[in-house]
Symmetry: D2
Subunit: 340 residues, 4 copies
Amino acid sequence: MVLKIGVIGTGAIGQDHIHRISNTLSGAKIVAVTDVNAEQAKAVVNNENMDAKVYENGHDVINSEDVDAVIVTSWGPTHEEFVLASIAAGKPVFCEKPLATTAEGCKRIVDAEIAHGKQLVQVGFMRRYDKGYRALKHVIEHGRIGEPLMVHCAHRAPSAPGCTGDMALTDSFPHEIDVLRWLLNDDYVSAQVILPRNTRFAAEGLQDPHIVLLETKQGIRVDTEIFVNCQYGYDIQCQVVGETGIASLPEPSSVLMRSEAKLSTEILVDWKDRFIDSYDVELQEWINCTVKGEVNGPSAWDGYVVAVTADACVKAKHTGQIVPISIQERPSFYIKQLVL
Amino acid sequence: MVLKIGVIGTGAIGQDHIHRISNTLSGAKIVAVTDVNAEQAKAVVNNENMDAKVYENGHDVINSEDVDAVIVTSWGPTHEEFVLASIAAGKPVFCEKPLATTAEGCKRIVDAEIAHGKQLVQVGFMRRYDKGYRALKHVIEHGRIGEPLMVHCAHRAPSAPGCTGDMALTDSFPHEIDVLRWLLNDDYVSAQVILPRNTRFAAEGLQDPHIVLLETKQGIRVDTEIFVNCQYGYDIQCQVVGETGIASLPEPSSVLMRSEAKLSTEILVDWKDRFIDSYDVELQEWINCTVKGEVNGPSAWDGYVVAVTADACVKAKHTGQIVPISIQERPSFYIKQLVL
Amino acid sequence: MVLKIGVIGTGAIGQDHIHRISNTLSGAKIVAVTDVNAEQAKAVVNNENMDAKVYENGHDVINSEDVDAVIVTSWGPTHEEFVLASIAAGKPVFCEKPLATTAEGCKRIVDAEIAHGKQLVQVGFMRRYDKGYRALKHVIEHGRIGEPLMVHCAHRAPSAPGCTGDMALTDSFPHEIDVLRWLLNDDYVSAQVILPRNTRFAAEGLQDPHIVLLETKQGIRVDTEIFVNCQYGYDIQCQVVGETGIASLPEPSSVLMRSEAKLSTEILVDWKDRFIDSYDVELQEWINCTVKGEVNGPSAWDGYVVAVTADACVKAKHTGQIVPISIQERPSFYIKQLVL
Amino acid sequence: MVLKIGVIGTGAIGQDHIHRISNTLSGAKIVAVTDVNAEQAKAVVNNENMDAKVYENGHDVINSEDVDAVIVTSWGPTHEEFVLASIAAGKPVFCEKPLATTAEGCKRIVDAEIAHGKQLVQVGFMRRYDKGYRALKHVIEHGRIGEPLMVHCAHRAPSAPGCTGDMALTDSFPHEIDVLRWLLNDDYVSAQVILPRNTRFAAEGLQDPHIVLLETKQGIRVDTEIFVNCQYGYDIQCQVVGETGIASLPEPSSVLMRSEAKLSTEILVDWKDRFIDSYDVELQEWINCTVKGEVNGPSAWDGYVVAVTADACVKAKHTGQIVPISIQERPSFYIKQLVL
């Protein structure tokens, strides 16, 4: 069976997903697309030489009889609406982050999905599909470092022209929030944000870097340096300190050079290169699970927890306090993680 | 267009290719299979849940009207016959190494393909598709180490139960022979083989390790340690020394561990893990090129040159001499590398 | 001129210093020793085959006409007394840490030294003499990472049988307190201590690990993981994050191994091996400076600041609060850092 | 006892040794110096502020009653004469390489020393005192890689203005010849030299790089790349491949940098920095052994074997042949390695 997909939003990430589904992945095809810019949607269909219909709007895509499953890659503020509509139509939906722009919006999706009675929503947290993070999880779960006690992370980008206000916390950091919960099988109970000396490369009035301290239910302490104008590269670090040893995320593979009095490997500068393979794995697994009627990736619940945690970080930053994070227990609906 | 493929030989590597084409790659499907063990061929079709017909023999697969292109993964001594038959049928053929068991056999395929007038044959040297080797080639071609002068290589496997006689030279080493020619855009003019002190882990009467010294037309010197009972892991090394710097093949990515008084990364032990991603890239590129009527991978000519070079190494080993390698100029047929 | 040294305390570290001065270093000799255990002092003199007199007590050593300079390596609670006596005698004194067991004690030494009018005291913070920390300081001071913004440290030991109560903060951490001030040319303004999930390897009732957060006058944020039962090794890490790059303390040099499916280097397990070379450099520089009438190493003031900072960390641990650290400005007496 | 040393030759290396003996090492002092340039010798005595007499010539130094032991750091062609004179005078002598400019000259020293009946001569092969090589030897001797089968080495320098003719073989390579014999407890039986494509950075008419292949009595194969215009740094590599694993010489310790899209450590460019610590260890051990009446370092025999091996390499280079190396058995005189 070939999964017939409708895509809402043909901007950069939408085009990427369309291209990988059409040219690299197996078992699916794009049959429907739409965009607020209809001309762009048409151009994408032409460029990819696809046999896909261009629809007026997202709701028409969702409701089209041709469409088995929906991908939402439109502007963030529209995500909630299209995900809710997909649930209403009973169709599996893959939504790029954010699931919704507020924790309340995420909660409405969770409630709607539970009311619908069957899990349909997956959120685009692609780090869970990164080979390195998966290897790290494997090491932890096989007891090779004992019980995790601390995690030291860094999220660095060379520069951040559009990263204003609290976006380092609401836009960059959610990837760590999600992947660390998954890595540790744990949830957060408090957040604190430390504001180090500012880099001269930060835009006027903006703080950079931040250090976020999270505490988990098990008492594991996570510290993450978020430094979005670090100049030197796009560099994601994650070091898990356990009772008997330490495991660190692999550096991206690179030719080892001896030249100009340096022994060196390259550090990536473009974030798109860092997780490009993860997108392929993510979408292929989503296709495979969707065909089987399952959702195995980051759920609406995960999207909601990330939103609540990011909100706590923003509050912690502005108050200078240690902010408690209180989330109800994971609903049993999301524990089985299988669509019946 | 979906490329319809017939597979001759459903042993281990045949099954791997069938599985990746059916489940991972895009743009092709298996429509025909055969094997000397017909029951096994049927079992593979069932296990993969494929809509593919099981044929009596390889010639029936090649000549089936359903089949657009052929993959030869049968026993080595049958390769020449099926590749020649594919050429005769005018069908693109991907043949796992060896192209033929003798240099003469390879030459017959080259001659048949030239006589046919259109390039159809690709040989399964997958290292050219490895991300690491490609990154290394990129570094060299962008002048980052100046002109290459020497290459230091190692080809190590933990143990080699079936590696008898000169198989280290005829079976393991051809991968280096091919990939280094491609890396350097050069050909070999002589071979010498050095026999170091033998490991106690070599089987009775067998030499291990070998050191092979190759000289290229440009005077580049390549030394390769081939050590098939090295115990510690499957470890492929390639270091290119240029006029201004040195570039080395990346180590496979691995979690960095601090434990038990060691700072360590893992070394693979199973050769299948080392180039598993390369097989995907290799077959996907073959499918894409085949659909466009092109051959861009290792050609019949490359398979022939590898066979001639391996023969020289065997002679060098048994004589202790520096053995000249004389290969005619690459036929212009293989220079354009494009099917018209 | 050969500097004639008297040593107070011939326990482990005292014996080490006696041995290195007698056998490895240049320009000094031991002429006087004492210990609460007089027999042990005599045995050390015999074992080292030294021409040194054994005195009744520390004051006799200090006041001996034979003695040009004093080394205090006795039990911690006696340090203050002997350092004050050395100042009273106008003799240069090298005192192993702690300078005194309380900040008040340190302050009394500072006051006595200032009243004496000439700098005489050096404290045994040997990390400033480590090749790696010196290389790190060189990199920072040459602007190769821009202005420092954050420092991420770890102080790990495999096990800590005698490390009770708050000793991780008062005994292990002072090395970081001193070396980071020196590295950054800065002082601390606040401390916070985070208590992660406890390792099962910690002794009953003891917290391990700790995370200490320090803020400097310039706003640099220092986080240090102190983990004294980490099992895997003695591992000191220091990573300075600057505006344009990051510099990390070198790993101790070690043979690179490929064996048993691992690519590895050794991690030290015994703390004595980590800074052994630093002790030689420290004492040789102290001898050379003392002969010239100078004090260039960690001063009494540095010992005092470390004590005040460690006290703040202990308070921060027990209150869970961010504790301000208020230290008066460095007296001008300690700014010139030269004995007139 | 303080060893009283006379130094013949106060050029660069002579001055270095004088300085380290006077300022860094323990147990010796310089009492006599001489140089063909008497003014320079006087200047050195003044600069170092030493209580040493300047003699007319080397023989006066050797025969001075004040002198217990001799260091020969004069021009290479004078070494043999001064070493023979020291033996005649029955005085321990440390001679920088070469021991003599010809194998015959070395043999004359060996014969004279044996005739004298007591070992007196040590040759300045300082790599045996390098921490890294010693760690490598420790790993081998503790069986951690099984029996050695192959050694892959590189000897690279950024440029070589004065390196003419066969000096890469006669001047640079002797360090490898010596240290590898010592590392492997073995001797050489044949040499072959391979001439790769020449770098454009080699001076007119000079070959660079060379690859030297040595075979030992045990059948271990050593390949060494000697590349004296490699541009990028001074880089000494040594990788020993054993039956169960591989051990490599540590890289010199260096701050790990993340900057400008590179993860890097520094490679040294000046050879003097690479083995600077080894000179200290070498001379201190020589002083200590000399005081005890022993010679434990590289002997006259070692100097002779190195000369014979280097000669074979030169012959191998010019003939293109595999040149046998035949050296008589090590005389029993040199086996005990102890002065009676």
